[in-house]
Point group: D3
């Protein structure tokens, strides 16, 4: 019996929406279940405490503890955990808590972009996109493949106010990335842009990566291949016993 | 109807074994079909002319034209093409010939390794492994994540002569990579090592990537997400009209 | 009146000890006040909730919210904030909350090391030191100057159990870094090693950077020069209004 | 007797024109013989099968086997082999087949450019120039010295249709590279531009590298210095015995 | 008694103005004494032979021997030596001659810039600024943090002819660096710009580093922390006995 | 008449031996004339003031002014200038003074090494070799191709005391570089090792670059190709009018 022999059994993926919002969860579940392989079971959970959206390092800090609470409570009963925000909040910490697959959308969509063209650009929401995404790419060790990262200056919670207008702005920024910066692939730099991906894709001549979908499918891939992150090097085994007040 | 709506239809993946050998094809087909999602149909084809194994740049050159013949003949009727050799022979050229997904094992397994630990090492067959794989990693833009690449000095066609012995040598090289070079992930640097992966995995404390399986699943992932390489930048549209004598 | 004209007025530096521990605070205050310029006033504060020590990404996540509470409550009345842990927890987020100087020891001691020799090594506590510090150096953009990072495998709270023994282990690791990896400077990779710095320094022929002292003096330097981080690029202005449950 | 003692004997350089074209060979021979030192004997040979020009990875694949046939047949009777196309097709493979000097124009002209100014740009023919040349520079390990690579969008076989017009387009692209990208050296990125070099040179204020001439002179230099590539590391000794159907 | 115990004693810093000019010295002394901590004693000395300003590598060569004469004559009686020119002339050589702190403004201001924003740009005087500063940043190992380096084309000795006009040109170049190149920090790339710093600072929304002041304060910092460069690796102990004719 | 038409006229190369020593000059002239093409005329000149050997940055500073005096006096009557020391002293400055070819051995031998194998190591004289050569490679932008740099700890003037013993130490260091660091090419890191090159070459299985010979031949190559460094970017036109006391 090899690592792949259990593939027909149900595969359970927990998607943590790292914000305090009940509204999104149902839509998210539908979206991911629609993408899921037949044997995959999707669970989507949000935070009880934390930010209403993640746009800064500050917001990510406040999302952290409740993300880790969900990881602590649920990792035993799932096969993979995806933290559904392009800031990849808590991903490193979660990997210290479990042997289950843990993925974040920035890391995943940038690694997939490597297959699709010489350079990719990330189009995201706020002016901190440029330096933040460059920092993420440098952390991942792939900075030389990043053409540029551009913020369109619409906050997360405003993205869906006027889908046409938001898509138009993303497309405009993407076209600049393609023409000026040499991007051959566009990565949408916010998981809140999932509903916009098709609109954007139709207006561009390059592949467009929707990070939430890509991360979800990569989670399935890693589970099916029996691959998980190493613990003992960058990721030690964390101890909750030393935490006070949570 | 979005990019994902057709996922229940049959998905066809052509695996090109870029060597002149009929023997391997049946085993390969079984291996990949065993890994396939339920909707995936696997076709494995070998070369009519070319090398009996690929161990040098020289061998890869001779594999090239017949790989491209298969791409030219079959790309219309498949969804993805995987060229099953860690040298990734013909991958760039094939991407100039088709809009279908084209993947090679080196690129794919190194991108997947990014998710599993701080640094990875590649264990392969001959003394050219070290500089060749470093060159591949540099081309992919991820050299800073490569801990080392080590050749065990067994030619491709000798890998399966004594599976225990070969696995032992891979494990020994991997342990050195882990202890001395700081590897947290081991990538098997030859698709001919597929039969050895489980043996190796059992003896190591870090994730072990079998590149053929990983590339196959990534092909499924990209097809399901509707993602393909960009044509018009690094990959233009190639013209067979200018080729003489083939 | 230029930026430097106020230098004789009292300069106030808040040192956040990002752990739940009252014991350390008095010693810390004495240590930093002993290092302070005559016009500098030192305030040391610990967390009410969070980890008892920071050794993993997990621990850093739990330190985050209470660090930021202190930043929010105190930034108006201080000139600089130093977060006293080599993981630099909350440093990026704090910079989004205030125009006052914000520094962390890893960033600061690695930048100072650039002046002292061709390459530096970091000696820290646990086996995650190697990849974690390399990641910090890559984030800072100075990875090519990092010779190595070595963990001696003594947890933070064990460092002071036997000062001689701990110093001996640090010295042994440092000597290996000097001889094998080409280090010309040693950075102590944990602010809990402050009491060990002189012991270590006496036994090594290269400069030894104690990160807490170095960061404290850099905070004074930046305040005196009127230099603060930019807000509007990597660091936007964070909003606490969107945080729920804290 | 040292490595240099034979320098007065005839030195023979084989120039492989890696395309199927008899017309160019005579002109090429004249061009290189005009550049040759007095003791150098020039032989120019074209392919019997392969592409009529090399503009894509696809074309390079089809040039490969017949390039290697020439290397196999002729390396014993020459001192150096130059493969005269900026794609450097077959260079790595040829180095596995012979101890004679083997050079390609991209590698050579980029290494020579390092001596002439802070950064260089490559002006070549098609839109794939930008990413392809960047990939070549990355492979060579000198990406930080490449200012930019620009394609003027004239196919190889159209370069000599209107020499003035082609030169004008090269000059325009070069001026943009100088002004915008900071290029201090221009490398012509196609050996088919040899006839245009003087025209371009007269209109630019920076050094212009004609890659064919530069590679030819470097071949003489390496032979005279007794320097050849190492075999046993990146370049093993290839075996033709394992090739079928050629 | 630890490294910090002597901090109340007088601390003496020699500032070498590496040009032949008596006029500047008195102003310089006032400037630095105005920046000094209460215990710091400032000595400023100029060259007897050398250039009247340093704008090229050529000028720096001629400044070298007389800088080193001052280092040889004075290092015993000072605690730190600062060579006050952004070319950092003689800094490496001086470090071979003394165990006292030796600093140059380019190295120092670029390391301090790392704390203040994602990327910095250097605005300096002549068209060689771009490649020279990039080379300095590459030497320091921080090239990935350099956004750009721009020369305003006013020679050193013309900087103070019309302070408003010079400041206006610096501000214009800085705004371009901020808007186009993504700079979040501006480093003035000439110590002759000290008198312009406040003017420039008032017109920009990002931190502005005046390199002379920053280097001076870093010299104090290193002396107070007991930190000096390593001798025995990059910096051996130089011997004046082998010098003839000086 | 193109750039190559004058190749039969005499080509004059000035070799500056940047030390105060009359003894070496005659041997040097013989060595280089023995390497010269038939049309090349060799002139070797030493310094009147400066160091007796160059082993540190300090020594290089004192060599500078008299190197530049020779450049100023002789550049009009020669075609190329080679500064014959692996520290490349004065090379950048000399390029600001003349349009003639100017080369140094470190830059040249490292660029030539790129053609000969995946990575090269430099074997030189003193313990500062490691960091100094790495700094040179980083300046040249090719650090990723440098395997290692090792000092054998024999001063320049001791190299020829016992040729067998010195060669043996070079060979031993080179074998370590090959076996441990993966070097495929050895660069001798001191032009004083020219007399040892053949001895070393015979004992190693990899190409050995003697930097003086290589630089000399590259000077011929650049002159014959009509290639010179750009002036106006990194290298402006220097003015001797601003130098006092020389």
């Amino acid at each position: 019996m090899n690592a792949y022999s259990e593939k027909e059994s149900r595969l359970k993926i927990l998607i943590i929406s790292p914000v305090v919002s009940q509204e999104l969860l149902k839509d998210d579940k539908e979206y991911f279940q629609g993408l899921a392989d037949s044997e995959t079971n999707v669970v989507v959970m949000g935070l009880e405490k934390g930010p209403t959206s993640i746009e800064t390092f500050h917001d990510a800090v406040y999302a952290g503890p409740d993300i880790l609470r969900l990881v602590r409570e649920k990792s035993d009963v799932v096969d993979a955990i995806m933290i559904n925000c392009f800031a990849d909040p808590g991903v490193d910490a979660a990997r210290e808590m479990t042997d289950k697959v843990v993925l974040g959308p920035a890391e995943t969509s940038m690694s997939v972009a490597l297959h699709l063209g010489a350079k990719f650009s990330v189009i995201s929401i706020l002016p901190n996109t440029g330096p933040w995404v460059r920092w993420q790419a440098r952390k991942l060790g792939i900075e030389s493949r990043l053409a540029s990262a551009i913020g369109i200056d619409i906050p997360v919670l405003g993205l869906e106010k006027d889908l046409e207008e938001t898509a138009a702005q993303i497309v405009e920024a993407a076209k600049q990335a393609i023409k000026i910066d040499g991007a051959e692939v566009i990565v949408l730099g916010c998981t809140g842009m999932a509903a916009l991906a098709e609109r954007v894709r139709k207006q561009l001549c390059v592949p467009v990566i929707e990070p939430a979908a890509t991360t979800f499918k990569m989670a399935e891939l890693l589970v099916k291949l029996g691959l998980r992150h190493h613990r003992g090097g960058l990721y030690l085994t964390a101890s909750y016993d030393k935490i006070r007040g949570y």
